[in-house]
């Protein structure tokens, strides 16, 4: 009897087993079949390389290179010790750190876990070579942004970073995914939508290690569009070199089009650091450096008083309104009293009586105090604005600021104070509330150089496969006769005896320009030089700005001369 019960129980369990098997294989067949298909068919995203960036003559500036990563699949590792030994030797990294990373992979024993990123090609090859002896270790590749000119182009190209949560929320509909890299500044940011390609995919049959066995379908990744810049990389590097170890900006522009030939801001950074995980400390230091702000593009985002360079605007206002003319003079005795304040000229014993052309050549403060007071603050502001100050230039780079062109009504609104006469005097020599960016100044000078057109500067000449039209220049309505006198004065400032910008005098080409020394309440004066060349047919506009650089007539003037001579050598002039 007991044997019958025993037999019954035993065979009953076999019955349950058969039922369970039937349930799994027949009833739930479709479900498991689907899972098994998905198991072995995997879609591997093919990361589209970003578009390349070239300079004006087609020289490659930014491209993509292949980065090699090392991953481990814990389950496949036969000998943890040997794996750590060999890898730490090849990769030349601390064995203990590596061991920790391999050990961490234990948590996901069947998934590949990254243990080293962006290793050198030689190391990657060596790891590949020994991978037969080291099961579970694989080398993978991905495209990585490569900035060929590193620091020298940093503020033009900008840099990449992982997409932020808010960016992702905004751009998800355009197919952005988590962990995508997007442009965070410069061209990379402004033209991100063009530079970014269309990711492709590979439908492959894989084994459990994700190893590709057979390709079922391919959707090729489409590289982003290439960009062609107006930048001349040789000139850019030259300017970069000139500004090395200093703080400031240089912008070189074609005054007839607004094409930027060089744009440098110092201090700078290496955009490659932002795509390299090993350099994350350096990135953190760059982003948090609140002493020198290396991430700020001073050419478009830094605002400073322009100093004497601004006299050009006052000059233009005086002649263009007809309120003043060539024949009239103001006298300089070294200082000038407005109310109870005494304003000084930079030349203590005075310039004597000067006409307007000599006034600008000598950069005579007393002359411009009087001229400014004669014109009135509103007229000065009107012309400053007309010539592009106090508003963004519209350059195709992100982060541009407006600067500030003050008016009495602005002062009333903002500071709840009325405008003082003394402020007008100060304003006329480019001090006080007035704030400009170096880029605004180069465009401001281009108005003089090109005969009255306010241009929209740009660094991207064209986008591959896309036709675009540039916005036309804005006619400032400044008369040619006015500009001819101004040009002559600016030519004198460099080339005539006693001119304030004689350090910019060149034997090769006639340069015209204006120096500026802007008082800085926080330290040494800021130094400016803005000029163009050749005087009779301007082809190049330059601004050199050095934070706390002392007198504009010295270092910036010298640098500007070198830059213009370099443009001649490069046949840009």
């Amino acid at each position: 009897m007991r044997i019958k019960v025993f037999a019954f129980i035993t065979l009953f369990f076999f019955g349950i087993l058969i039922f369970g098997l039937f349930y799994t294989q027949a009833v739930k067949y479709e479900y498991y079949k689907g899972l098994s298909e998905r198991n072995r068919i995997r879609v591997i995203p093919l990361e589209a390389p970003r578009g390349k960036i070239y300079d004006r003559s087609g020289r490659l500036l930014v491209s993509n290179r292949i980065a090699f990563d090392v991953e481990v699949i814990f389950q496949e590792i036969k000998d943890e010790n040997k794996t750590a030994d060999l890898l730490s030797e090849i990769l030349a990294v601390d064995r203990r750190g590596l061991e920790k990373k391999i050990d961490a992979a234990r948590k996901q024993p069947f998934a590949p876990v990254k243990i080293a990123e962006d290793i050198e090609k030689e190391k990657a090859i060596r790891v590949e070579e020994i991978s037969l002896d080291l099961p579970g270790v694989i080398v993978t590749t991905r495209p990585l942004r490569n900035y060929l000119y590193k620091n020298s182009l940093s503020h033009v190209t900008g840099y990449l970073g992982k997409i932020s949560e808010s960016e992702l929320a905004k751009y998800k509909v355009y197919g952005y995914r988590m962990r995508d890299f997007v442009g965070k500044d410069g061209i990379e940011r402004a033209f991100n939508d063009y530079l970014r390609g269309v990711d492709g995919g590979l439908q492959v049959e894989v084994d459990s290690r994700g190893r590709q066995l057979d390709i079922l379908a391919i959707k090729e990744a489409r590289q982003g569009r290439n960009l062609y810049l107006t930048i001349d990389i040789e000139l850019q590097e030259f300017c970069h070199e000139l500004l090395k170890e200093k703080t400031g900006a240089i912008v070189v522009m074609d005054p007839s089009t607004g094409a930027i030939l060089a744009l440098v801001s110092q201090p700078d950074f290496d955009p490659n650091a932002f795509v390299s995980p090993q350099r994350s400390k350096e990135v953190l230091r760059l982003l948090n450096d609140s002493g020198s702000f290396p991430m700020v593009n001073r050419a478009i985002s830094g605002t400073y008083p322009p100093g004497s360079v601004f006299k050009i605007a006052v000059f233009t206002a005086a002649l263009n309104t007809g309120k003043f003319n060539d024949a009239k003079t103001f006298s300089c005795a070294g200082s000038y009293r407005v109310g109870n304040r005494v304003f000084h000229c930079w030349k203590e014993d005075g310039h004597g009586a000067q006409n307007i052309r000599n006034g600008i050549k000598n950069s005579c403060n007393v002359f411009f105090y009087q001229l400014g007071l004669f014109l009135g603050v509103d007229e000065i502001s009107k012309y400053a604005f007309k010539m592009g100050l106090g508003r963004p230039t519209g350059i195709d780079l992100p982060g541009e600021v407006s600067g500030l062109v003050p008016t009495p009504s602005w002062k009333r609104k903002k500071l709840r104070q009325s405008w003082f006469k003394g402020e007008t005097a100060n304003y006329a020599i480019g001090q006080g509330y007035l704030l400009v960016t170096p880029l605004q100044i180069v465009r401001f000078l281009a108005v003089v150089a090109n005969g009255g057109n306010l241009l929209e500067p740009y660094v991207v000449d064209r986008i591959e496969d896309i036709k675009s039209r540039r916005a036309g220049a804005e006619d400032t309505g400044i008369r040619h006769e006015v500009l001819d006198v101004l040009k002559a004065g600016l030519g004198d400032a460099i080339n005539a005896a006693g001119g304030t910008g004689y350090y910019a005098r060149s034997k090769e080409v006639i340069i015209a320009g204006k120096t500026g020394t802007a008082q800085n309440p926080h330290g040494d004066s800021h130094a400016w030089f803005a000029g163009f060349a050749p005087l009779d047919d301007p082809r190049i506009c330059v601004v050199v700005f050095i934070e706390q650089g002392g007198k504009g007539g010295l270092a910036p003037a010298r640098s500007a001369k070198k830059i213009i001579e370099e443009t001649k050598r490069l046949e840009l002039l």
């Binding site: 799994t24 067949y29 459990s208």
Partner: protein, 358 residues
């Protein structure tokens, strides 16, 4: 020799399963050096069948007379393995004998059955007393505990129903058995306390494999997918994607049934289970027809052991039971398991052959 009573059906069912096992193993091990694996398995198979025939030649009564000695030696091995055993996956289970890695827990299953049978048949008159029942359990407890702390939870738990089944057939009071089961269930919380981390994890994963899909849940998920996607007719030999693409870990050892399920489908798996059931059925016939109490009990122990191994192993590959690390008899790769199983079958055939003729 009484080859007249040699159970040919049982023997040929065994050979048939061995053959299916080789085919499956070949398919499962193509990723590795399959020839090497097949060669070794065939070697062990021949060795195991030789052992089977050697066992047939010895009267099982003579083996029974040595049962306590054998059990004692096994316990000694179990103690040794704790100190000098080769650790694999955190557990000390093997003793290296040079050419062969011996797994004493495999041995313990058989020697415990022998010792229990010997005890129960000698003390037959006391069978309904509680003292008989308790002493029988005391006999089993050293092996149970030693295997449990190796740790080899699966094998240790296997010993409990084997002991109970033998005592049941021996004729103990049914209330004693029920009492023991209740006591066992009541002590579960204490037992839980002594489980190692990975063992608890396995139980959690059994309840919900998706809590750790890339860790301990991975095997069970992949195994279910393999069996389920085999459908009625299977994907064909060497054509199982789960198997061939290496999604199935441990597929040539503990999870080999998922390869059968995937490549041969329900039909093939059913055939295999029916072959196992046939062996079990013939085994029960032997229990029934053996007049000698000791032989009856040994047969009961062996049949229970065999049945449980098959049920638990297949049950875990289709996710009906937690993963406990038991091999599939006659099919899983590995010498210890194969030789022990063939030895058991030899012993069973032996008992069947030596029943007196009426």
């Amino acid at each position: 020799m009484h080859f007249k009573n040699f159970d040919r059906t049982l023997f040929f069912a065994t050979l048939a399963i061995l053959f299916i096992g080789l085919l499956t193993l070949y398919s499962a091990s193509r990723e590795y050096r399959s020839q090497d694996i097949i060669f070794r398995q065939v070697f062990w198979m021949i060795f195991g069948i030789a052992v089977l025939f050697v066992i047939l030649r010895v009267d099982y009564q003579r083996i029974v007379s040595l049962s306590y000695v054998l059990y004692g030696i096994t316990l000694l091995f179990l103690v040794m393995v704790l100190f000098s055993g080769r650790a694999r996956g955190g557990a000390h289970r093997w003793i290296s004998l040079g050419f062969f890695n011996l797994q004493p827990s495999e041995l313990a299953k058989i020697t415990l059955i022998l010792a229990l049978s010997s005890y129960a048949s000698v003390r037959r008159s006391d069978v309904t007393k509680i003292s008989f029942f308790c002493k029988a359990f005391l006999l089993a407890i050293p092996a149970f505990l030693l295997i449990l702390i190796e740790p080899d939870l699966g094998t240790a738990l296997l010993l409990v129903p084997v002991t109970l089944a033998m005592l049941y057939i021996a004729g103990v009071n049914i209330m004693h058995i029920l009492g023991a089961i209740l006591l066992g269930l009541a002590s579960f919380p204490v037992f839980w306390h002594f489980l190692k981390g990975y063992q608890r994890q396995r139980l959690f994963v059994f309840i919900n494999p998706n809590i750790d899909p890339l860790g301990s849940g991975y095997t069970i998920i992949q195994s279910k997918i393999a069996v389920g996607s085999g459908g009625l007719f299977g994907k064909g030999w060497l054509a199982g994607t789960q198997n061939q693409l290496n999604f199935l870990p441990e597929r040539h050892t503990d999870f080999i049934f998922s390869v059968v399920g995937e490549e041969w489908g329900f039909i093939g798996a059913l055939l295999l289970i029916l072959l196992y059931a046939l062996i079990v059925y013939r085994g029960i016939k032997i229990i029934e027809t053996t007049p000698d109490t000791c032989g009856k009990l040994i047969a009961t122990g062996l049949v229970t052991l065999f049945t449980l191994q098959v049920l638990i192993n297949i049950g875990m590959t289709i996710g009906f039971l937690p993963v406990v690390g038991l091999t599939l008899p006659l099919i899983s790769y590995g010498g210890s398991s194969l030789i022990t199983t063939l030895l058991c079958i030899g012993l069973l055939l032996n008992i069947g052959m030596r029943r007196p003729l009426f």
